[in-house]
């Protein structure tokens, strides 16, 4: 293929197992399940050659890891929700695209590697999202990790590696972030019908993010990431990174048509299914005040 590859749109997808394993137990979970089906049937009418998933459920320490095993196959069980059942999976990975992302990441100064091992534990978030969106392996996928120590510059550069790989592939590839919005789970067992967003504060922050994204303001959400991390995320990693990566792949601006397919609580966290499609008109022409690095120049040891 000689033409330049591109991302026709990007997606935000949740990854908790309730949506896949027991959607019938809660009307909100069922709505998410149905929204996945609707999204999938819409995508099947479009020209899409593959998916790249950035998973907040796959932490890495040694730089960035890129799944390249051609056909990962396993029976997955979630660490927390093991009683909901097992999830057998068999995925199709675009190993060539994984290699290209890796080469592009290295050329940009990142420490990165492909991982290609039988039995590698693909995370719950990716397993759930792929089983729902891509159950027949219609589209080959690549999964990339989320480095626990990485901050904005490193994540933006890692996104550019994916963007460069997409362009050089000549294909139409959909970048996807697997993430909840607010991520605070209930810390006691609830009955499914009792599910709700953990706190009003989380709910309000989620709604603010949804308001921005429905207006196509991806870059504004990207730049709110640090504050969102402080306000509505349990701080398990250095920062809330998925929107940095997505904006970097799709383009760091507010020129999008945003569509909220669904937003519901799943075990206390905010689960949203959202598409962002590049459009001609900026939602709002704000000043983008953070810099736009091309190369990663090394860790600056700001975190002890």
């Amino acid at each position: 293929m000689s033409s330049t590859g591109k991302s026709p749109f990007g997606l935000v997808l949740p990854g908790l197992p309730q949506i896949l394993l027991c959607p019938e137990k809660n009307p909100g979970w069922e709505k998410l399940f149905l929204a996945f089906q609707q999204l999938r049937s819409e995508m099947e009418t479009q020209s899409i050659d593959g998916l790249i998933l950035y998973s907040t459920y796959w932490p890495s320490v040694i730089g960035h890891q890129i799944q390249s095993y051609p056909e990962p196959q396993w029976t997955h069980v979630d660490d927390e929700f093991h009683d909901l059942g097992s999830i057998p999976y068999h995925f199709r990975v675009d190993s060539d695209l994984a290699q290209t992302i890796n080469e592009q990441a290295k050329a940009r100064g990142l420490h990165s590697r492909t991982v290609s091992y039988k039995g590698f534990p693909i995370d719950t978030g990716c397993v759930v999202a792929l089983k729902l969106l891509n159950p027949d392996n219609r589209w080959p996928v690549v999964i990339v990790s989320s480095n626990v120590y990485a901050d904005r510059a490193e994540t933006i550069v890692f996104g550019k590696a994916a963007k460069g790989a997409i362009e050089s592939s000549g294909k139409n590839i959909v970048p996807i972030i697997i993430t909840s919005l607010s991520n605070r789970l209930h810390t006691h067992w609830i009955r499914p019908e009792e599910d709700h967003i953990h706190s009003l504060k989380d709910q309000e922050w989620n709604q603010k993010i949804l308001e921005f994204l429905s207006a196509g303001r991806l870059e504004d959400v990207s730049q709110l990431s640090r504050q969102f991390h402080r306000e509505a995320r349990v701080p398990k990693v250095a920062n809330f990174k998925p929107f940095w990566w997505l904006a970097s792949v799709l383009g760091q601006n507010n020129f999008y048509t945003g569509r909220i397919y669904e937003y519901q609580p799943v075990f206390g966290s905010g689960a949203a299914i959202i598409s962002l499609t590049p459009s001609d008109r900026a939602a709002r022409d704000l000043e983008f005040d953070e810099n736009d690095p091309e190369k990663f120049l090394g860790e600056r040891q700001v975190i002890s």
Binding site: D83, Y117, R184, S304
Partner: protein, 295 residues
């Protein structure tokens, strides 16, 4: 009524996959030339020490089986599968075949529940055992001739703070001790965590190239030495009192609560611990430490 059971020893038994990798056991797929000998020899000394002990079961609390809703316990008699470390898959792809003492797990679960803790038995036979549990158990008992009890770690240090988690872990430790006493069994407890825990984010071509290995920073080293000094002096109550600061400023893996649980189960020992060794692994600080319960 059976004889009263007992915790015969408690061990800080960290789980860097590098140690199993460098040991080259048949269960692990990758091969190493050498590496991290100070810690591997520390585990050798631990094994030698435990070989003189009569015990029935290893009870392990692992930071890498992380649950947010209370504490979970392995509740299936046998597990046999492949564990691939998601962070270091190049070093750890281990074929395990292990037995669980489900009745003791259930007793600890029930005792903890009685004391008001949130608990759950894990009964899914497809569940994959976390690499923290496997590595601490392998390094302590590579023959796997004893059953284990596997206990998850709770995320309360991140959800709330270390004080909240530690309060829960002190209660879980007491419940663990009480259940072991009631069981009539002799148990060795393993807290599967590193001390300071800031990793390097790069790895060399040859992972076991020891010319690259050192602690991430001096701050962490000082903290590790402070904690180890208190262990040597039998001042574990002081360790618990500074656990929050240590965990935060040394980004310590004590944030899973394993060490707090262990010290509580051991009745917050005032006798000196045996330091079998200390070393860094990809920048993190690790000590193999044994508390031998007085007769």
């Amino acid at each position: 009524m059976p004889n009263k059971g007992k915790i015969v020893a408690g061990v800080l038994a960290p789980h860097p996959p590098h140690l199993v990798y460098a040991e080259n056991p048949p269960q692990n797929e990758p091969r190493a030339e050498c590496g991290w000998e100070n810690l591997r020899w520390a585990y050798e000394r631990l094994r030698k020490s435990l070989s003189h002990l009569d015990y029935d079961v290893l009870v392990v609390h692992s930071p890498h089986w992380r649950t947010q809703v209370g504490t979970h316990f392995l509740g299936v008699e046998k597990f046999s599968s492949l564990s691939v470390d998601p962070v270091f898959p190049n070093l750890f792809r281990y074929h395990y075949d292990l037995a669980v003492d489900v009745s003791l797990a259930q007793q600890i679960h029930d005792q903890a529940e009685k004391e008001g803790l949130t608990v759950k038995m894990m009964k899914n036979p497809h569940f994959r055992i976390d690499y923290g549990t496997i590595i601490s158990c392998h390094m302590t008992n590579p023959t796997w001739d004893k059953p284990i009890v596997g206990i998850s770690s709770n995320g309360a240090a991140r959800y709330f703070n270390m004080e909240v988690l530690q309060a829960e872990m002190l209660r879980l430790g007491e419940a663990t001790r009480k259940a072991i006493e009631d069981s009539g069994k002799k148990a060795v407890l393993l807290a599967s965590n590193s001390l300071s825990h800031r990793h390097f984010t790069v790895e060399g071509e040859v992972p076991e190239d020891m010319s690259r290995e050192h602690i991430s920073n001096h701050n962490q080293y000082l903290w590790d030495m402070k904690i180890i000094d208190l262990m040597k002096k039998g001042k574990t109550e002081e360790i618990l009192s500074i656990m929050s600061d240590f965990t935060e400023t040394a980004t310590a893996e004590t944030d899973g609560g394993s060490l707090s649980w262990l010290l509580s189960a051991l009745k917050i020992p005032k006798y000196p611990a045996e330091i079998h060794g200390y070393g860094s692994v990809i920048g993190t600080g690790n000590a193999v430490v044994e508390w031998r319960t007085p007769l």
